[in-house]
């Protein structure tokens, strides 16, 4: 059987396709399962829906559940078209399988770019509609009535004229024998019953009683725990090592050198950690990055100044020289630091090497790429690699490194052990904070001109930051002629009608591994753009809220919508009121529009954020409560970075931070009250995992400048002088 069917093909193909692929459905101990449906699910009309004789409907979720609500959102889409009752819905993480579970926008099984809901919107509804049509056909055959007279509601299939009715389970066997409809009808959105309503999440109970299973919770028979001593400088390698003290520790089984460092294998975690501490390693720093981040910033600053000649002009409109003749010229330079994602579950993976096949268990945003990587490292065919995707204790992008380095590290550990075995690779918090793959540093040089009336006549934004996608499997799709949009998104394609405009970007060398961090490019461009715009408004005495609204291009109705809404919600009267500062900022990221207002107090000379209002337009709001939760969380996440976070390298190249005592995260005592409004919409749904992040830092920066007059050109705010 040809398994390389098109995405549309497998949906419309016969049920036999699923059976023939022998999906890895084994659920010995439930992994990433939320009270999964019946073990015996006779009705599996496609790769996404399983219906058991117990009436439970289990949706195979192709996107990693890392907190963003994919289990709930995708199950809602299925339940809507299946006409199921929400209480009968269950969800389970789908294993790595690009043929079945690819992201329809990206062609590989990938959770990222806030695409999870959008790319699944039609696919999951069709999957549910397929199951419904087959259940109806089975009922029609069994009852001897026309299918057209059968209705389905709240998980009950009924025929009014004959007073016959049935749950899904009783018809599951018969439905499995029905032909799969070629193109099942999906609803007109006006008939939605579940989409757009406040449904409870499917994973809340399991995540409140300790039963939800994450990677680190996997304990398999004979499993060894492995920690790796990674080089203290980026690009360094092992010159030599002495493992005699490590091997003397009870519980340490062996020590092996792998390309990532020196791996210590032990029968338990404590022994592994002690063993690693006891290693004596001589590192070869000859190829290491040994500069400090202060020195790297100087390089970036110089590069930003010449980005329009030495890099790429990525957007241009009108004659930028018009700034030179402006009545007033403003300039600023913004510096944004390296940031660690710091998911609260540190990176980890469990791997079992069976001599010629490998099976892995972990939370991955990129199971498609990881499977290829595992096949390469182990030297086995792709079909002999099984990856079970579990819940992730946070990720924020971190579990999607283009290099699949965690997968590779786990595979090298299994290979270096020299025989069959099961291993859990565990990164400690220090491994995580010091381990690279950061949100890159960025420097933005801003220059703008105002005419005598205070109108903006030119806007010039020059950026120095590394390319994110170059050298990753996504390069082909994301980098065009050397230009990586992920590096300057949020600086280009602005909704504002500036006079002349130029955006330039210089891609900096990646001597420290960097990658996408929640909100990707917007995480740094948002701060520079929205803070500098506010400075221009302040210079001309323009209200920053009305100024933004008035500056919008006429076609930007959705931007206008979120700004008008947040203005209303926050009771906007201006930038300062009763001794508090108010700042507004906006972003369109990943297709979603968000405007936020922050209320800021001066506490001991530093900003303290008391309230945030947020208006979001993400198209059809499929799961409103998940959207609200993502905005609340994104605001806290963005604020954490704005107030506290930076990774720095000291001279010599070592990372100065190690754990939460010097890479502090936002605590509950710093969390503002948050009010979220969702703009009603019939547009295609877009993502909500990231778009709430980028506006909060500039909203706070703008409020702070209005309140104190102090401009913060470098994040985090904790670096600034007291005001």
């Amino acid at each position: 059987m040809d398994t390389k069917t098109t995405r549309r093909g497998f949906l419309t193909a016969g049920a036999g396709l699923v059976l023939a692929l022998t999906l890895p459905m084994g659920r010995g101990r439930a992994q990433g399962v939320v009270a999964a449906g019946s073990e015996a699910a006779p009705f599996a009309p496609n790769a996404f829906v399983r219906i058991g004789t117990d009436d439970l409907v289990t949706v195979m979720i192709k996107h990693l559940e890392m907190g963003q609500g994919s289990y709930t959102g995708l199950s809602t889409l299925v339940a809507e078209e299946l006409e199921a009752s929400w209480s009968q819905m269950r969800a389970e993480g789908a294993p790595a399988n690009d043929e079945l579970y690819a992201n329809t926008y990206l062609g590989t099984q990938l959770t990222g770019g806030s695409t999870g809901l959008g790319n699944s919107y039609i696919q999951m509804r069709k999957a549910g509609a397929t199951a419904r049509e087959m259940l109806v056909a089975a009922a029609a055959a069994e009852w001897g009535v026309p299918a057209s007279e059968i209705t389905v509601k709240d998980g009950v299939i009924s025929h009014a004229a004959s007073s016959k009715s049935s749950g899904f389970g009783a018809l599951a066997d018969a439905a499995a024998k029905q032909p799969v409809p070629a193109d099942p009808a999906i609803k007109d959105p006006k008939d939605f019953k579940l989409i757009g309503t406040m449904l409870p999440r499917l994973d809340s109970a399991a995540k409140s009683n300790g039963s939800a299973e994450f990677t680190m919770d996997v304990y398999r028979e004979g499993m060894q725990t492995v920690v790796v001593a990674h080089p203290p400088k980026f690009g360094a390698t092992v010159a030599s090592y002495d493992d005699s003290a490590a091997l003397a520790i009870k519980g340490v089984v062996m020590v092996r050198q792998i390309s990532f460092g020196v791996a210590v294998y032990a029968t338990n975690t404590f022994a592994a950690l002690q063993g690693r501490n006891a290693l004596k390693i001589v590192w070869d720093d000859s190829k290491a990055e040994t500069r400090s981040t202060a020195q790297i910033f100087e390089e970036y600053s110089a590069a930003a100044a010449t980005a329009h000649t030495e890099g790429f002009v990525v957007e241009s409109d009108g004659d930028i020289a018009s700034i030179d003749g402006a009545a007033k010229i403003l300039e600023a330079e913004y510096r944004l630091p390296f940031l660690a994602h710091a998911p609260l579950e540190p990176l980890d993976a469990v791997i079992e090497w069976k001599g010629n096949k490998v099976e892995m268990w972990y939370g991955s945003q990129t199971p498609g790429f990881d499977r290829i990587k595992a096949s390469e490292v182990m030297g086995i065919p792709l079909d002999d690699v099984t990856i079970n995707v579990l819940f992730a204790g946070g990720s924020f992008g971190r579990r999607s490194p283009g290099s699949s380095h965690i997968t590779a590290e786990a595979c090298e550990i299994a290979k270096a052990a020299g025989g069959e075995g099961v291993y859990k690779l565990l990164w400690t918090r220090e491994d995580d904070i010091k381990g690279g793959y950061y949100r890159p540093m960025a420097v933005h040089k801003m220059r703008a001109g105002l005419d005598a009336d205070g109108k903006i006549v030119g806007w010039d934004n020059s950026i120095a930051t590394p390319s994110l996608f170059t050298g990753t499997p996504l390069e082909g799709g994301m980098v065009k002629d050397g230009i990586d949009g992920g590096s300057f998104e949020g600086s280009a394609e602005l909704p504002y009608a500036f006079g002349s405009r130029r955006v330039s970007w210089k891609g900096m060398p990646k001597t420290v591994p960097v990658m996408w961090w929640r909100a990707v490019g917007h995480s740094h461009t948002g701060y520079a753009v929205e803070c500098f715009l506010d400075e221009l408004f302040a210079e001309s005495g323009t209200d920053p809220m009305q100024g933004r609204i008035d500056l919008l291009k006429p076609e930007e109705t959705r931007v206008r919508g979120v700004l008008e809404k947040v203005k209303e919600m926050s009771g906007w009267t201006g930038s300062v009121r009763d001794g508090k500062g108010y700042g507004v900022a906006y972003a369109r990221s990943f297709g979603t529009y968000v405007a936020e207002v922050a209320e800021v107090e001066n506490r001991d000379g530093h900003p303290f954020v008391t309230r945030v209002w947020c208006a979001v337009d993400c198209g059809v709001p499929v799961s409103p409560d998940v959207i609200i939760a993502q905005m609340e969380g994104s605001i806290g996440f963005g604020l954490s970075a704005a107030l506290h976070s930076q990774i720095t390298l000291k001279e010599g190249g070592e990372v100065e931070q190690a754990n939460f005592y010097n890479y502090p995260l936002l605590r509950i005592s710093e969390m503002p009250a948050v009010e979220v409004a969702i703009i009603p919409s019939t547009e295609m749904p877009t993502g909500v995992g990231e778009p709430g992040v980028s506006p909060v830092a500039p909203a706070v920066g703008n409020a702070w400048r209005a309140l104190t007059g102090q401009k913060r050109y470098q994040l985090p705010f904790s670096l600034g002088e007291k005001a």
């Binding site: 409870p200 999440r201 994973d203 409140s208 009683n209 300790g210 609260l344 400690t428 994104s634 806290g636």
Partner: protein, 152 residues
């Protein structure tokens, strides 16, 4: 030999006395609801109840719990904890979920001490429990909600 009870069950383990309680619970007893987040008492994900008081298991050597009664998220049965778990689910507090065992146990200790906490009480008592997803708005709300149901 280390002797203690966990969730009402007696254990006698032949184990390095320096082993942190966290790894004993996880590696030896497979009680995986208690989470590892930092290893240095900075995040609270490993919070357990030790003789009725919240304690960070990651910095508690097993030698320190000799003869003690430990309660983990799997075994917590106090009225406060049950009310909190119900409020957590009803308000959909968790996102990724990694920190929530620790949050709930810290909140249970708070409610035992202060049945009607203010926002300030909550911020003070819960400041040692990090949530990287920043579910803090709902944690506050759920603690108030649990306090209300316990009152009734």
């Amino acid at each position: 030999m280390a002797s203690f009870t966990v969730n009402g069950r007696d254990y006698n383990l032949d184990i390095d006395p320096e082993t942190p309680l966290l790894w004993v619970l996880r590696d030896e007893l497979h009680l995986t609801g208690t989470k590892f987040g930092c290893g240095v008492s900075q995040c609270g994900a490993c919070t357990v109840m030790l003789d009725g008081m919240p304690r960070r298991a990651c910095v508690t050597p097993v030698s320190m719990v000799e003869g003690s009664a430990i309660t983990t998220i799997e075994g917590v049965e106090s009225r406060e904890a049950k009310a909190l778990q119900a409020a957590w689910a009803a308000l959909d507090v968790p996102q990724c979920g990694w920190c929530q065992s620790g949050q709930i146990l810290s909140a249970a200790a708070l409610l035992q001490e202060k049945p009607k906490p203010t926002d300030e009480d909550i911020d003070h008592a819960m400041a040692g429990n990090l949530c990287r997803c920043a579910t803090y708005v709902r944690i506050r709300k759920a603690i108030h909600e649990a306090a209300k149901t316990l009152e009734g």
